[in-house]
Symmetry: D3
Subunit: 272 residues, 6 copies
């Protein structure tokens, strides 16, 4: 695996402009992690929603040649039943209009740079649809560019996996916020950042398929964890990592013609 | 110095929501690095404009207790005579309206979280004035909150420093893009990311105090370096780091009442 | 049941302003059907997404006293795997920003009129999240007002119902566009409008959980029907109507204190 | 006359997408009623401003082949001297920016669908100019499309007609809100919806050719009727209907080449 | 009469800030001429629509004490039948959204300065309604402030005046663009700016009460004069000036409590 | 020198449309003074920031043939250390978004009129960057048009000039608001408007290179003068005028091919 920073890297933020230009000229895909800054319980950092997908993309980039774009760290407003809700301190959300405009500008600039294959990989559930709109707007004025919009980050897990991950039964993805999946991923991918002694199980007092404003706090929790987090483990994180990275790779394979890894590197890096 | 991630950190992105809430409740200042993603020559990564101020803030945070907020990685459009200009691949800029809206939302959310002392520390010259506008808008609706807007990141350097930094004479800050100051800072703070073998000296063929659209490329350079970069050194970077960190600290001291570092930590972290 | 138009009606569009004012003064809820104008195959009119929920609300209004607000006939852009996509003629969609602004204005005006209990009942899948944003914005400036956001119009169907509705197995709601559910509802509620001789079964050649732009038409169909429509029947429509009306009523009961039907009528109508 | 709903209809909302596509392909004009939801006194429903023009368009559509588009039910803010003003409950108005954006999107979508001849027929006086702006914007980017903007819905009435309609003298159109013209039209076109026992005569205490904000209620009335409504009659409504329908037809004849009615129907409907 | 510029002036643009603050503190009304930059035929400057009302306000200011605010020189788009249309070179129009925002900001700032009585006096027909919207928005957030919106600049002329002004019959105000009224006013108020040798009579080939886009140039003229301009005279201009100034004064008298002229002057000016 | 108004003028606001069209057809540059309405101490009118550059452009227009466009009288918000700040009455500022939109529209309309060489000449320091954005946006859609953006109005003054202008030492341009430069220019160019008896010297109690919100009034002054104004003189104004007009001319010479003055005049004016 190439170094994460320095010559030969394919992480956009650590590349120089000639390296980026070379990758775009080689028709390398660029994949953007779309996340948020949102409370993730007492045990995970508020950056969880972009740290996780960005880390998974880095792992995927070892399997297929593409540029890992700059993660979007700010997302749309948190909602009680999926992210705890806007009543939590720490959560930093954008208005819908700002979020759409930000992605619109980012896409326009990636295309100006020369990229013709772009994938938006969204981890924050509440961003759904708000990611599609800017992609739609930009696509309409960008002939020759293909944009893949992945608003649902997860693969469908098979029964065998579900048995391992949720031996007591799968509660559904809806409440999987700061719970088994995300905590396990952190324990595997970023263990130093997990406050292990503060992991809790929690659940909303009220769980209904609609929303109420002003926010009905009984539809969220006091901790910000929406289900059981104590059942998380690094081993589950490893399994999840494998499955999700494979999923990302399968989308890339389905949508983009493969390129040679070397082709996307600047000559100097290629020779090094 | 506290760990950068994990319990006790004061980096917003690596804090949990209860830790952030505790810091806000203690009236800790939060400081936001405002940067850009912009070409920085063949030798520096495009993230230079947020990596540098974020790193400097981390160092300042060792001297005064405050929260290092999430850096803003996307800035306003690059202009030829200060950043090389929008004709460069790799540069990812926002429209003025998007940039203003993004900061407006971020400020609103920090205030909702409970922060009453906010500092915006801008490194990207072209962001000037665009940072002030959202601060003005948010301030007007946020009684009891103080926002310090630092659009010019640099201290005034004394003659002795200028003699060290620019022994052949100071060309002025205007063209100091990807040149002595930024390259030296990278060589000192992030040496692994500098492509040392690609550092060049360059200068615009044409240097006038106005702009032309469509962009007149003779007002920029082919490399993206706008002055001499080869005169950079890690030793200069160390001097610059010291001066700028002191400058940041002096602004904090001038504008915000001091608090105890321990007060801004969650009880659990304080005891650890 | 009161007449649908004329004195005593509780359909907003057919009420006079003193009647509306009286209903608001009595704290009657007002429920807004949020729909779209979107292709619904060769056999259903493009108004299906607002005609269905508006008709269901009328039936619910016979069971609980509330005002049936003006249906929103224009929705957010159609997407291939849920509504066929924007490549279809006939579909009339709004930009995200327009859609959000329209609902924001509508809510502000209902509140100015005096309503303090508002429910947004959305039938068009692609509107999800875009309905929440204006509700959030308006709620923040409207103390004393409760807004219920129902973005998912359907109840959870029990196994017995699923056996009746989908004897060959339930394909999932995702592709239920212009298919069994909507066609059955039309055959029961609006039979004159169904082009019975044009009902078809169809399915996308490609069914993946992400989107591609420009639109990949293999993810939609040529007819606009996304699953089997021929299995629809008026009898299924009757069952669906009962279940969904009960669902609407249950949400009203869960979220709003009951009022007397007579209290929401203008004195003159009450006496008539 | 073809059925209003079902096969062969030319009402957009009750057509299927292939029927709409066929009409557009035949170069059929599409005419949009632009209205409002606004108080219309104690005797007319708040939907008067879109119900009237939509009904008149249906009658005109029997005389000339065109598609009766979806009526716009929400308009710009009511003003005291023309619609009673925004202090009335029941009135649901859009901001100028929302109203303009909504029409802009609608026009873009009709054009995407294939229509090249569009007429906007406005009944709500306060919409004036706000209808022109989106038509202007869309026209500038839509070569080959003709948009006719009718902001003043009324023909010029001859003296003979005025003698019949206003035997005591014509007070001018300005105050004809919920008065003789609109009430007569309702008594003729939609008699079941008129609260006959609540019709009143009224007049603003103050009638000046300017506006005051905050609204000076003496420039409006307590009932919302701005002139005499009791002089209305179904017979006057019949005369008005004839004159206005003829006016609509004359605009169509003046601006659009005629097409054959059959050409705008889908083959299946044509044969039926 | 006080000097137009220098101490004692009540023209906003020539006042100093302490003078403006004193006038606002004395509750002086401020009146804003709302105009445009628009073709006015071959004989009048493009500034006619703001030069005329600003000059008339100066004359009215000699009769009643108020501040003559800064004229708005850019207006909404010209339309063929009222201003010649946007196909003319020289015309500089704003989008509706820009125009509304500009007036909104101006009103907010006048109110921040301390003015509580504001009148918007519009001369450009196409600005109608676009002036009302920002006044409505600002009024809603500005308790204690009265805004008078005069969108129709003209008084109703009596028969005797019409006989003098239009001896051959009054064609109506609609086409009075760069014709008798405006040319006469210029010949009286600003004779040096009139190109007397280029005055023409003209008339649209087609005169219908609706609009067509793209612009149908037969609804405008080649010269930009929409009626007879040769019948203009300085004598008519004097009569018009008297009538319109009286009209402005009558609105001020009707809407605002009188103040003493001296009260609105800074002490220093008062004594001078 | 041609007359300022009437035939032969090249001031946009006093030209007729055929004269403007002729100038544009001859490829004449058009130069727009970008200013503000902002407090300028107790001795200068609030229009200083557009009156000065507009007057200087008129003088430059005697030396080179170009059209003096309509000055923009409203600018971006005043800031304490450069213009005194938004706490001053009299200052009338636009939001950033309004200001950008206004210039965007103006540029679009000048280009529609036929101008292909446009210069924006900004006098109000706080407008910096906000002028560049609309120029960038419009340039991107206007092939064949050149826009010169002069955000810093001043030439670099030589030492000899500085000795004359600031015999006690040059304090820097930053605080030169309503001080020596602007007061001298007014004394020379517009002496009747200067309140000579109210000229003062002043200085902020606090002078730091950052901003604070809510505004820290110690960073501004009570008078609005930010430095010494009493050292101003008409003689200095004459020197400044010469230097700045030469600077304007030098930019025009550097950026635009010269044209013949006569070519930009309408035939009729040329012959007169």
């Amino acid at each position: 695996m190439r170094p994460a920073i320095g010559p030969g890297t394919t992480e956009y933020e650590w590349m120089t402009w000639p390296e980026i230009a070379a990758a775009a000229a080689a028709d390398a895909p660029v994949v953007i992690a779309v996340g948020s800054t949102e409370q993730h319980g007492p045990h995970l950092p508020v950056s969880a929603d972009w740290v996780i997908p960005q880390t998974l993309l880095r792992l995927a980039a070892a399997k297929r040649p593409f540029v890992v774009g700059p993660a979007l760290r700010l997302g749309y407003r948190s909602r009680p039943a999926s992210g705890g809700g806007q009543q939590f301190p720490g959560t930093l959300s954008l208005r819908a209009t700002t979020f759409i405009a930000m992605i619109e500008d980012l896409l326009d600039e990636l295309i100006r740079t020369g990229f013709r294959r772009i994938m938006l990989y969204n981890w924050h559930f509440e961003n759904t649809n708000f990611v599609y709109e800017p992609a739609y707007l930009v696509s309409g004025r960008s002939p020759g560019v293909k944009i893949v919009v992945v608003e649902n980050a997860m693969p469908e897990f098979g029964d065998a996996d579900l048995d391992v991950l949720f031996p007591d039964g799968f509660p559904g993805l809806a409440l999987e916020h700061a719970a088994v999946i995300e905590t396990s991923l952190f324990e595997y991918l970023r263990p130093a950042t997990v406050r292990m002694d503060r992991i809790v199980d929690d659940a909303p007092a009220r769980n209904v398929p609609w929303d109420v404003l002003p926010i009905d706090e009984s539809m969220s929790t006091a901790t910000g964890v929406l289900a059981s987090a104590t059942q998380a483990s690094a081993a589950k994180g490893e399994l999840l990592t494998k499955r999700i990275v494979d999923h990302i790779v399968s989308i890339l394979d389905a949508e983009f013609e493969p390129i040679e890894r070397d082709a996307m590197l600047l000559t100097a890096d290629r020779d090094s």
